[in-house]
Symmetry: none
Subunit: 222 residues, 2 copies
Amino acid sequence: MEQVKRAPLADQAAELILERIRTGEWELGQKLPGETTLAPQLGVGRSTVREAIRQLAGRGVLASRQGAGVFVTALDAPEEWDAVLRRADLVSVIEARIAIEAEAAALAAERRTPSDLRAIRRALDDRAANRADVEAHVDADTRFHRSIVAAAHNPILAELFDGFTPRMRQAMVDMLRLRGEFGDDADHGAHERLAERIAERDGDGAARESRSHLGAMKAALA
Amino acid sequence: MEQVKRAPLADQAAELILERIRTGEWELGQKLPGETTLAPQLGVGRSTVREAIRQLAGRGVLASRQGAGVFVTALDAPEEWDAVLRRADLVSVIEARIAIEAEAAALAAERRTPSDLRAIRRALDDRAANRADVEAHVDADTRFHRSIVAAAHNPILAELFDGFTPRMRQAMVDMLRLRGEFGDDADHGAHERLAERIAERDGDGAARESRSHLGAMKAALA
DNA sequence: TACCACGACTCCTCAGACAAGTAGAGAGGC
DNA sequence: GCCTCTCTACTTGTCTGAGGAGTCGTGGTA
């Protein structure tokens, strides 16, 4: 699955600069070489270097002062969780989501309160009612899955799920638009069974349902 | 005395764009107008708009795809992940770790390379050799589990595991000091079995071993 | 010594041109 | 009718050249 390294030059340049900061070539507070000397060094144009610098400035690593130069303001921002998600390919994200959600389903089966169960069933009905519009359906689907994660009463799992949501949303919309087959009875049946297992307090069954449903999605998106 | 023009145009443009995102003019996942139409709107040149976009891209708010457009990827900086971890109670962290690690074990069984397997076995031996000192044992144990997650070849899962590590370490040290029973043969046998399942490419078995081992730890810590 | 004008250097901004990639419309084949 | 393929319009990516604006060290002057 050899991904071709098709990253914009500006991104590559930013990475190179960051690398040289990490190795200590330019220390904290120090001035970088001027754009006009840095550009040929990296083998790119001046504007490309500028965009790379802007990018790092947005992350708080660099700061530029007109007339003075560009300075290092931080050795490296702690790898932002958000950036990791964006860079990772979709399959990795789905695998992580499967891990989180299957565990959450099992915990939800143990811990769900009557109020949780009502919320899950309400979300399920809402999901069934939104079959027409693709985006509305994806959002309703997300709310259903979210209600299950919420029933697990584990803030870490909930936070992780919310972190995945934005990255997943667009991918799901694209996929459903492409296939045209969404909201069918088989799909909805799987969700009904998942809700059933949780209602029955069948943790293993809930995890199994969740895993198989998301596994199918992984296959469709890969 | 005029402290007005102090900020570069690109910074001002970035601020304006962020403003319009916050007000909901461009929703999450949506495409921004093209650079060529955005530039006159903001009253700046195209290069300046590009630098503003780069800046926001560095902060994770925007992402641009050549040929397609610029898209909103986040409404603003998300909540600090570390803070969530610190605030959450230990049981929640372990549950999340179980989710991550069981999935990683199953994937590792599928994807492990011979080199991965060597690393896992080396970590296992190292773990066996460090039974005397509590802290050394915990660290060696962590390295073993980390080698399995690495063999799953999923950057998201790896990043999550690393995120849990610091929070787990102290808790495990405390627990082992209290109980005094660590590094015994039964415990080590469980780890050997886990490595075996991965070597045999038995994904379900590996997930089961991982889950039961970590489940025991959860019971001990709770 | 204290002050200041100057110049070299730096980043900032713009404009134009072309390359590279994407996505949708439309033609063609089944 | 449906599928596929091609072609076109549009978008971002990159480079170059030009001039504007701010900073800082230097050297001359009082």
